[in-house]
């Protein structure tokens, strides 16, 4: 019990998917580019960005592109260069990368897809919410000791009652 409960929480806390919410879908050249982000809503802190590239005809996934992203926070010199790859994605049809968003607000995003000697560019915006309280995501760990103390009190009572019955 002492082992399983925190492990259960750990197992939950570590699941982090690429994919997530669709932020942008654009047609560029002969491709359809879909950009996903997680977590939902996208907020300041660590985040995943992933892209699905499909051929415009037949929507077949494109797996041989070189993708790079530039995220710019307007009115400042904050820039993020991200290089999503299929190796970093859980779903190997996607190109994914982790990133660290430092500010809330509207970020400009520019996607460059290089393939067969051609470069295609798609641009848009990402709305980033203020940071979520980190303690909230780890609340299970903070709740664990009081729960176990409660169970221990119950256990002691049960033991005492059992010994009274035996007496």
């Amino acid at each position: 019990m002492k082992l399983l409960f925190p492990l259960l929480i750990l197992a939950q806390a570590t699941v982090f998917a690429d994919g997530g919410s669709i932020q942008m879908r654009q047609e560029a050249g002969d491709l359809v580019i879909t950009v996903f982000t997680s977590p939902t809503p996208l907020s300041v802190g660590p985040a995943d960005i992933s892209l699905l590239l499909q051929k415009r005809d037949g929507l077949e996934p494109v797996l041989d592109a070189d993708v790079s992203l530039l995220l710019v926070y307007p009115g400042s010199n904050i820039e993020l260069h991200v290089h999503p790859t299929r190796e970093q994605a859980r779903n190997k049809l996607l190109y994914a990368a982790p990133m660290m968003l430092s500010k809330a607000g509207k970020w400009g995003i520019s996607v460059t897809v290089a393939r067969k000697g051609k470069a295609l560019i798609a641009a848009g915006t990402l709305e980033v919410a203020p940071p979520t309280d980190r303690t909230l995501s780890l609340a299970g760990f903070l709740a664990f000791p009081p729960i176990m103390i409660g169970l221990f009190v119950v256990r002691e009572r049960l033991l005492r009652r059992a010994s009274r019955r035996q007496a």
């Binding site: 699941v15 049960l158 033991l159």
Partner: protein
């Protein structure tokens, strides 16, 4: 193979948290099954083992395979995932009759001490009967399936990872309940006749069918996320939804119909069942003797090999020589030097993880005692360690000095200083042990050894006697005296009267020396010796030794002080004082005098004084006993701190090694996102074990629950304050020392 098919089939997610959990469950089940298979071969068959393993595999397939990776894009993949959890994993696990094997497979202290009172509770047994009543179980699954398919809830699960896991947990546990009466899992009497399970299954099938029909025949997309998702392979959202409905309908119905058919056939079968022993008798049956690491098939012979320790010591000696050489002559940039990386990031992390998982493996592999062992082939030490110094006071003082020096001279940032410490350690061990007999350096001087001795009190393994009866007839006592071929215990621990790991270097000399082969590495209840207060050979009573209490206080408070020194607020505070005083040394010195001596001693004295008001025992005994109970929370902080460095910076060794071999390397990996969770997990467990130990100490020293509670209260408050400090540290921005990371 087609690259797209390769990509789809390669979309596996190996989530180590989930895999570790499933592996732990499998290990516990297997252990219990092995006992039960020997007792009840007809009931606990290989088929049951295979079924349970199949259930776990189905969970892995549902949560880690491409089915999960594509669940967000295709409703049909998501439907397969749910079916795997509901109709494959849950029944297969239950077909393994898991309750008894899981109970038998747990360590005795968990099964008997922690779970025993709950399992014996009348109310909980009644609640259990209600929960597995067929009416309740049928509604549990039907309701969870119906409710989670409401578009709003389904969308919630698609948008949030947390709600998605809640949905899966709900499906899985409701399915476990649903299949419980169908499979007739022990414990639990069949409230209804077996034949009644046929309509039970058919009615559930109808609910499933109704939902599938809605999905299959709806002319609009029910879940907006799938409507917005990019379409793969030209499958439209409505086609995907219809396919998902079909999957739910056909395999979902088959999952209900097959067991219904089997139940029907069983009702017609009139052959008598195999006679079996009553299960409760099996549960209470004698358990085999404690698990022994030295008896395990692969590791056992390696550990028992006479030259095993020497070979790992030589390996560590060579490694220490390389590290010291690089520290002295390599570049004085910590992240690029082996002396800046290996001792501070890797060795410390591995040592504490070894303490948690096994025992004092560092002392087993200690390279510092190798030169003196070699010298003793030519020189025999003549003196016994002075009686007046046979305590931990010197070691405690050296430990405090070492902790202070680490911060005051930024040792992590100075490969040369690190190298000199290593060289100094070799010289000190050599000098002490060529003059004094036995392992005087290890027992009375070595600060690193004391760190491991104290913390191995909560390790799960212990060098101990296998059968005490055998020692009763032993006249030679080779385990402590040694013999012609093998020396005895150098730290003077007589195995039959040794109760804990304290002062045990895991050298295995006693294992080699015992002519009866009666010493093993046995499983131990973590932390038991912290509260039992018994007398142990070569140590006496830990709970009556002020020197040990002082050592524990330095280790516990040192853990928090050492970790806090890396946090941004503490560093800012130190820099402010540095600016005022013009030097960092007085700031660190004042901080360490206060944090390692004045505050711990004052707090322990006050807590002991409050406890004495209730307990009416000697203040010294109370303070020493309760102080010992603080070990787990301190160890948890060391573990959280060092494992943070280790897991965040394990790859930092690569550039240093590459540089040592004159190659360039820029390989580095990002710190895993689960480190704070792991740190909090350690702190939680340490805090809880400390609370439990203080309770047990109080119960030992004071009669009556109320009085015991009052006696332990100040120590519980102190433990709570330390735990809170640990949580605060985990949430602070932290300097990743010597790692070129922030």
């Amino acid at each position: 193979m087609d690259p797209i098919a390769t990509a789809v089939l390669g979309s596996w997610t190996l989530d180590w948290g989930t895999l570790c959990l499933l592996f732990a469950v499998a290990a516990v089940y297997l252990r219990g099954w092995l006992y039960l298979h020997a007792e009840l071969p007809h009931k606990y068959t290989t088929g049951k083992l295979a079924s349970f393993a199949g259930g776990l595999l189905a969970i892995v397939l549902a949560l880690e395979s491409p089915v999960d990776a594509f669940g967000a894009l295709l409703l049909q993949a998501h439907m397969i995932q749910h079916l795997l959890l509901i109709a494959v994993a849950a029944p297969l696990l239950l077909l393994g009759q898991p309750v008894l094997p899981l109970m038998r497979g747990l360590p005795k202290w968990i099964f008997k001490d922690a779970l025993g009172p709950f399992l014996g509770s009348h109310e909980l047994q009644q609640a259990g009967r209600v929960i597995i009543h067929p009416v309740v179980t049928w509604f549990a699954l039907s309701a969870s399936i119906v409710v989670w398919h409401f578009p709003r809830l389904y969308e919630l699960a698609l948008r949030s990872a947390g709600w998605h896991q809640a949905e899966h947990a709900c499906f899985f546990w409701a399915a476990v309940l649903f299949w419980w009466p169908v499979i007739d899992v022990w414990p639990g009497h069949s409230v209804w006749p077996r034949g009644a399970m046929i309509p039970y299954l058919l009615l559930a099938g109808m609910v499933n069918m109704g939902l599938s029909a809605i999905l299959s025949f709806s002319n609009h997309v029910l879940y907006a996320s799938y409507d917005l998702a990019p379409r793969l392979w030209g499958i439209s959202a409505i086609e995907d939804q219809a396919a998902a409905g079909g999957i739910m309908w056909v395999p979902g119905s088959i999952a209900m119909l097959i067991p219904a058919a089997i139940l029907g056939m069983q009702a017609l079968d009139t052959r008598p069942a195999h006679p079996v022993k009553p299960v409760l008798r099996v549960l209470a049956a004698h358990r085999p003797s404690q698990w022994d690491l030295l008896s395990t098939p692969l590791l056992g012979p390696i550990l028992r090999y006479r030259h095993f320790r020497r070979s790992i010591q030589i390996t560590m000696f060579l490694l220490a020589a390389v590290v010291a050489f690089d520290g002295l002559f390599g570049p004085q940039v910590a992240p690029m030097n082996l002396a800046g990386v290996l001792p501070w990031t890797h060795w410390r992390g591995l040592a504490v993880i070894a303490l948690l998982m096994a025992g004092n493996l560092f002392c087993m592999a200690c390279p510092f005692t190798l030169p003196r062992d070699f010298a003793r082939k030519f020189v025999t030490p003549r003196f016994r360690w002075p009686n007046s110094l046979r305590s931990k006071w010197i070691a405690a003082g050296l430990l405090a000095v070492y902790l202070w020096a680490y911060e005051a001279f930024a040792l992590w940032d100075s490969p040369r200083a690190t190298a000199w410490i290593i060289v100094g350690y070799f010289v000190a061990a050599f000098a002490v042990d060529t003059v004094f007999k036995g392992a005087s350096f290890c027992k009375y001087v070595c600060p690193i050894g004391q760190f491991h001795f104290v913390h191995s009190l909560i390790s799960p393994l212990q060098v101990a006697v296998r059968e005490p009866m055998v020692c009763g007839s032993c006249k030679t006592h080779d385990c402590i005296r040694g013999n012609v071929q093998q020396r005895g215990c150098e730290t003077q621990l007589f195995q039959p009267r040794k109760l804990a790991n304290f002062d045990c270097t895991f050298c295995l000399d006693c294992v080699q020396a015992c002519p009866q082969q009666n010493v093993g590495i046995l499983q131990a209840t973590p932390g038991k010796s912290l509260f039992e207060g018994q007398t142990s050979s070569g140590i006496g009573r830990l709970s009556r030794r002020p020197d040990v209490a002082a050592l524990v206080l330095i280790l516990v408070f040192g853990a928090f002080l050492n970790a806090a020194g890396m946090t941004e607020p503490v560093m800012m505070w130190m820099h402010r004082w540095h600016a005022r005083l013009g030097s960092m040394l007085p700031v660190v010195t004042a901080m360490y005098i206060a944090g390692l001596v004045i505050i711990p001693v004052t707090l322990a004295a006050v807590c002991g004084w409050i406890s004495r008001r209730v307990a009416r025992q000697s203040w010294r005994d109370l303070t020493c006993s309760f102080t010992l109970a603080l070990v787990p929370v301190g160890f948890a902080m060391w573990l959280a701190h060092f494992s943070n460095h280790f897991f965040a910076g394990w790859s930092t060794v690569l550039p240093a090694v590459a540089r040592f071999f004159s190659r360039s390397s820029l390989i580095s990996y990002p710190a895993p996102s689960w480190i704070p969770s792991l740190e909090l997990c350690f702190l939680d467990l340490g805090f809880l074990l400390t609370l439990y130990a203080t309770w047990r100490v109080a119960r030992r020293l004071v009669s009556g629950d109320g009085m015991a509670l009052a006696a332990m209260s100040p120590w519980a408050v102190l433990a709570g304050a330390l735990y809170s400090a640990g949580v605060w540290i985990v949430f602070q921005p932290m300097q990743m020392r010597g790692m070129m990371m922030h």
